[in-house]
Symmetry: none
Subunit: 534 residues, 2 copies
């Protein structure tokens, strides 16, 4: 069968950077471009050519470096009204960027022509035609982005088509239909794209946004109706609700629609890694529920589902996680059964029988603890400590003798002071320390670390990364149980622990202790490198 070849066009570096809170440095942009090239993106839109020195420098650097196969595009717009294309500053800047591809956008919607551009229907057509022709004459590949195409077509199909014809007359290599406001429905995208495919001979593209949570669906609808070029961003980064998410579009095209893409099977195995890289570069928190690449995407919680997945993976997974570089994860929870515990033990490298009394004992304890409010989905380290305790392989690194926390406000205008003392026993020796912090838990953490540091220097590497508090049974308000979840890291690994008590300080203490003990276990397992000890 002759597979349809789809060209993937990434605009993370231009439209993606419009997102609230996203701003790439020059070095970051270069790093991203190399990574996109390596992944198998066909065209990389690097930024605005006009009035942006950072982007111009970016184009210059990449020109020197070269890319292994991707074509680089500079972005701009059609010429200003009543100006010759050759005199237009924006078009000149596009030429100066010296990229093989120039992408320019123009107006398709009469509302915009009249109210925003404040010009005539005919002048707008001339602006499109002249600008494309000018860039073609300079030897560039020209991609024409028809802004607001679907809205414009809804308003006046005849005029919207005329704008595309103008670009076609200018010699455009691609006509890209944009759903700029992101509000169209897939069936509209399909119908309009199909109509355009009949009227034009130039290859079509689709550029969607996610304002109606339909960015991916609209992109796929465009392809199904004949588009052979798809624009989007990694992780759907972009203004408002984001651009169409290439991370979800690429595997759908390749694995679900049977299309051929430069980023095919081998590339898609790095999809999760690419997504994580981009979150990092954009300084965004990885989104756990992201399709294909989020940490929850292949996480199974319900006992029945886990049982099913164990029997036949396809039974609750729409694609093998390995195909997109992800892994199946089993969540431990109230709704789980013996198979969850067993799978987790296997994952930890502990050799137990699925029907052994130990597994049943872990399950019994788990049920009791969960009834008390413990929750292990985000506290994998605490769960591992629980398994170790039941399997009798738990070693005590230190014993608490006492702690005290004090928070004091001495006057209305002064901030609170927090102070904590901790008394622990390590191998027969008592250590008594005091710490202070921004709050009671911070103070307690400081004091505990100080007490243990002498015996276990590797404790110095542990950093608290996240701290979450939830009040259970809130009808009893402050007298109710408190669950504390702590996320810790040591630069190499990240782990979660949990504590529950009627007292928030005690719950925090429990989670802190689990975190520290888990770190000491890791050190012990991986050799004495990091810590001596008693």
């Amino acid at each position: 069968m002759n597979k349809q070849r789809i060209e993937i066009y990434d605009t993370t570096l231009r439209d993606g950077e419009q997102a609230a809170g996203v701003s790439f440095s020059l070095v970051g942009k270069l790093r991203i471009a190399r990574r996109l090239d390596e992944f198998g993106i066909d065209v990389i839109e690097g930024g605005y050519a006009a009035s942006n020195p950072k982007d111009m420098e970016f184009f210059r650097r990449l020109r020197e470096e070269g890319l292994s196969h991707a074509r680089l595009a500079a972005f701009g717009s059609t010429r200003r009204a009543h100006t010759a294309a050759s005199e237009d500053r924006g078009l000149q800047a596009l030429i100066e960027a010296q990229t093989p591809v120039c992408t320019i956008f123009g107006k398709s919607w009469l509302l915009h022509v009249r109210e925003v551009l404040c010009t005539t229907e005919d002048e707008n057509l001339a602006m499109i035609r002249d600008s494309v022709r000018f860039l073609k004459e300079q030897g560039r590949e020209v991609i024409y982005d028809a802004e607001h195409f679907y809205d414009g077509y809804r308003d006046d199909p005849g005029y919207a088509l005329k704008t595309l014809k103008a670009a076609e007359e200018g010699g455009a290599d691609r006509l890209v239909l944009c759903d700029t406001n992101g509000g169209s429905l897939p069936e509209e995208i399909h119908a309009v794209t199909e109509a355009v495919a009949e009227a034009c001979t130039t290859p079509l593209g689709v550029h969607a946004h996610n304002d109606a949570e339909l960015g991916v669906a609209n992109s796929l609808a465009g392809v199904r109706a004949g588009a052979t070029h798809v624009q989007g961003t990694i992780n759907g980064i972009g203004e408002r609700c984001g651009n169409a998410n290439l991370v979800s579009i690429a595997p759908a095209l390749f694995y679900k629609m049977g299309c051929d893409c430069l980023c095919g099977e081998a590339s898609l195995r790095h999809l999760k890694s690419l997504a994580r890289f981009m979150w990092e570069e954009a300084n965004m928190r990885p989104y756990p529920k992201a399709p294909y690449v989020g940490d929850d995407a292949f996480a199974h919680k319900a006992g029945m589902h886990v049982d099913g997945v164990r029997k036949v993976p396809a039974s609750f997974e729409h694609i093998e996680p390995e195909k997109v570089g992800a892994q199946r994860r089993v969540l431990i929870s109230e709704l789980s059964g013996a198979s969850n515990v067993f799978l987790k033990a296997v994952e930890m490298g502990i050799d137990v029988d699925r029907k052994s009394p130990e597994v049943r004992e872990v399950l019994k304890q788990l049920e009791k603890l969960e009834r008390e409010g413990y929750e292990y989905e985000s506290a994998d380290a605490s769960f591992q400590m629980l398994i170790k305790k039941v399997l009798k392989s738990h070693k005590t690194f230190f014993d608490l003798e006492a702690f005290r926390v004090m928070v004091e406000k001495r006057s209305k205008s002064e901030p609170c002071m927090s102070e904590a003392t901790v008394k622990v026993n390590v191998g027969g020796e008592t250590e008594f320390t005091v710490g202070e912090g921004d709050g009671p838990v911070d103070a307690l953490n400081q004091a505990l670390r100080k007490a243990l540091m002498r015996f276990y220097p590797s404790i110095a590497d542990v950093v608290l990364k996240d701290y979450r508090v939830r009040i259970l049974d809130p009808e009893e308000a402050t007298a109710a149980r408190t669950r504390v979840l702590i996320e810790s890291g040591d630069g190499r690994r990240v782990w979660g622990t949990v504590g529950v008590s009627e007292n928030i300080i005690e719950a925090s203490w429990e989670a802190l202790v689990d975190s520290v003990e888990y770190k000491l276990f890791l050190e012990e397992e991986s050799g004495p490198e990091g810590g001596g000890g008693a």
Copy 2:
């Protein structure tokens, strides 16, 4: 024109709770059910009937309370193989739940029948038929969820249809086609749903998941092909990548597809507020890029867009933000906020000019506080106190001189002790008291009440009803800011207050003080007997 009426079925409390990290308390579930009812959801699935005491208690409580228009559904499965329906524990539990609607799922996919259920094709059909019939005979409305329907149909359309026919023969009121693994494409959903609509006479529903980022599109494709019932969750909360997101589906059905929904125009104006409420209840961080309801959904950054929006709002917005209870964010939006502050002041009976410097001053303070992490959505009382303070009508009921909180653990086996002292000045008199409690905040609350009781006996009526904690900027872990939300009540009214600090104790103190002061204001305004106020 006769609009198609679509029934909205919410399963946040059941399928939504499968999400990693989501676990609702009984009180939380009741609060959510009331809110969904108020919003205009047609059917609310409350949880599992079998083997879950929390859910059974939930059904009992709601039966006593009643809902204003929504029908409540209990969830379960078809009977076990080779067991009479009347003997089946799960089906019995569904009857014991005493809900008007019972929803049961059954297998449509032969792979599952054989490998997971380990039974025969015929027995599976009998299980479906018998179970539906049994529940119908007990007078229930029965919704049949055909698990993995689209995968099953792809595998063996004949058998998949037979399972629906079995449910139809049993007397099912709805046949709901589930894309359980969330991997189907909209055109597949459309084609299969259309084929089923031709083969069956029972009204159809669609239940989609978001694993391919197509949950919303697939739900809409189902409706376009003839489904009149849509299942999903608020904010798309759910296992793996989540369920189909009702928050995006409802406005698309109503505003873009011209369907009629119980949650129509008036309800949709509360869409953003509903979404925020649910994030809070699920203890999830609000997702700024969420379509329609995220803080970025109508935020404009690009200079050109801002200019366009100013000239013609529709030019860069696919829907008016007000229709979904959202607001455009362009610059630091003084004008949009001013009318809110003004409306609130009017609501409070305070006479101010809309353009007065006071209103502008409240706005300025509000912006500053929100930047620091304050949030007034659930803290109306604190917002009113802020207005009163700026409008100089704030009366000081008491002044804090100092407080101290101490939490002590004397040995590993003893529980923590919590003690607090509070020194306040009331009209020149100093009161110095001590209290103890289950935790530091409880102790502080006890001491504060003791200090004020002599001067303001009505304080005795105030009860803390809920206490919520959220850590902001979690990267800085325990040194990060903490937001505390407190819900208080006095038997007649319920009000919310907020406090923010790097120190959880200080944030709690702030919220406690606002709560107490608000109560004293209410008393003053309405007299000791009155029932006025918010």
